[in-house]
Symmetry: C2
Subunit: 307 residues, 2 copies
């Protein structure tokens, strides 16, 4: 493939950025990849494993002369990075990000993007519970959705190029406005993560059931919660602080439903429980048909390669 | 291996029983396997696929002359089966079950087990979201725990033999009393399932986010919930009706924790969120170290063989 961007700068070198490096190289999407991470340890690891073509010592250094700059830092760190790189951005360049929340990122980053630079937020819906520059792999985005969230001023041609870029990384793409994105993600990602964290926290807290029992007998269901509750704490703190309203709305709905089921258990209302459990099966079928999971049993056991 | 039991009867031919058939044959644990299921369709399928050596037309027929009878029906159906087979059980035989709740099963089945027959409840902590006689596979119990719950009168030799039997099926075994079992399972299995069902139900109910959006973007976390929320509705209805107290206790703790996190989100208390999310990571590490899951990323994608 002809490189879509001559020089791509990644600010932040965690799971998403390192996976982007591998996937960009797989498809030949950039002539040069430049990276920067705040921690010198992360920069050293990135140099050691040859993650990028060049690792810069500052975000501004990485961003200047880049044709595409992607902010791959936690949502709460976006504004200060944008402030630092804003002045050096090349006219005609595109600034994008991979944050899990879009409205507050737009509000935080937008004002620092100078006239003549295209600002096009995006969010790849892909991840694992691992983090850091070693955790990336080229296949992370394959057949997963990346949501492109153009702002009002986004240039259509620049948007098309970014869509082609994510397609080249292996992703399916959709465009959506920021508020709808934040609500959809509150349902499909943010609330499920909070609930998983809560359940794991409860298990960890109990005195009458020991940690070793929780661990030994986790295959009975609990295990599936621990994977998503092992995700990066800083990233998730920022998600909840920045998608407060939508998450609280969905949590309210969740609690309401949970109380109704709890009452059915207390009252011994088997029909209510059975009907509810039957209805939720169909969603699962839809997910498998859409290729977003397999129906393989007990998938937690299979070892797949991580690099 | 020399058969541990001459004739094994399985009452109910769903995921657990059909997996037991495959695993018994793999290890040569029984000279003859007899099966029975209430539905004639299930019996026909079992005959067609040669699941057992013989399929009986009644539970009593299957159980008489058996050296080990395992009740593999939903918890709510245990009592009527026990009532039917009680009179025909052979002196010296062992009656066991695979129910997810133990106290109510002991209360329901115990009185129907005649003098001279060993009653030893058990619970294999293994499963997939699939059900029925075709869903079984020999590896289901490998490296998973089966909890043996002897009652006061259980004969130690008969218990040892049942432990050896489950070991032969591939399982690790532990013994535990019924009340502790029910509490441990409320934490590691029953409450997580109820929460997963609730989350999937909420997503299905929303008007502002469509089903197709929930399905398309499920890889962001929601997907992990749908798998366990696709489990057999009858089995799970019976679990909640029969482990009411422990489940309600853990649900109470869960709601308390969830409200604390919800308040932290509302108040923007990032430290509280970050601390909580950091603490839950260690449990995940314990599970991986104990071999009850792998740390493979994004394991939902891998297709494993089911037969």
């Amino acid at each position: 493939m002809t490189p879509l961007y001559d020089r791509v700068a990644l600010i932040g070198l965690g799971l998403i950025a390192s996976s982007m490096c591998h996937a960009m190289r797989r498809a030949g999407l950039a002539r040069q990849i430049v990276g920067y991470a705040r921690s010198s340890k992360t920069r050293d690891i990135a140099r050691e494993i040859g993650l990028c073509d060049h690792i810069s010592e500052s975000a501004a250094d990485a961003a200047k002369d880049a044709d595409l700059v992607v902010l791959c830092v936690p949502v709460g760190a976006m504004e200060s990075v944008a402030q630092e790189i804003g002045p050096v951005l090349k006219p005609g360049a595109t600034v994008s990000d991979v944050g899990s929340v879009k409205r507050t990122v737009i509000d935080a980053v937008g004002p620092h993007v100078p006239e003549g630079v295209h600002f096009i937020p995006a969010h790849p819906l892909a991840g694992t519970e691992h983090s850091g520059p070693r955790s990336g792999f080229a296949e992370l985005f394959d057949n997963r959705y990346t949501i492109i969230v153009p702002v009002e001023e986004s240039d259509p041609q620049a948007v098309d190029r970014l869509i082609a870029f994510w397609g080249g990384l292996g992703a399916l793409t959709e465009t959506m406005d920021a508020d709808h994105h934040d609500l959809v993600l509150a349902v499909t990602s943010h609330t499920p993560h909070l609930i998983a964290y809560t359940m794991v926290g409860v298990a960890d807290d109990l005195r009458r059931v020991t940690d070793s029992e929780v661990i030994k007998y986790s295959a009975a269901g609990f295990r599936d919660f621990t994977r998503i509750a092992a995700s990066d704490p800083v990233m998730w703190r920022d998600v909840f602080l920045n998608n407060k309203e939508a998450t609280l709305e969905i949590l309210g709905r969740f609690t309401e439903e949970l109380f109704a089921l709890q009452r059915a258990i207390r009252q011994g209302d088997g029909d209510h429980l059975h009907d509810y459990f039957t209805r939720t099966r169909s969603i699962r079928r839809g997910i498998i048909e859409a290729g977003q999971d397999t129906d393989a049993p007990d998938f937690g056991r299979v070892k797949v390669r991580t690099e």
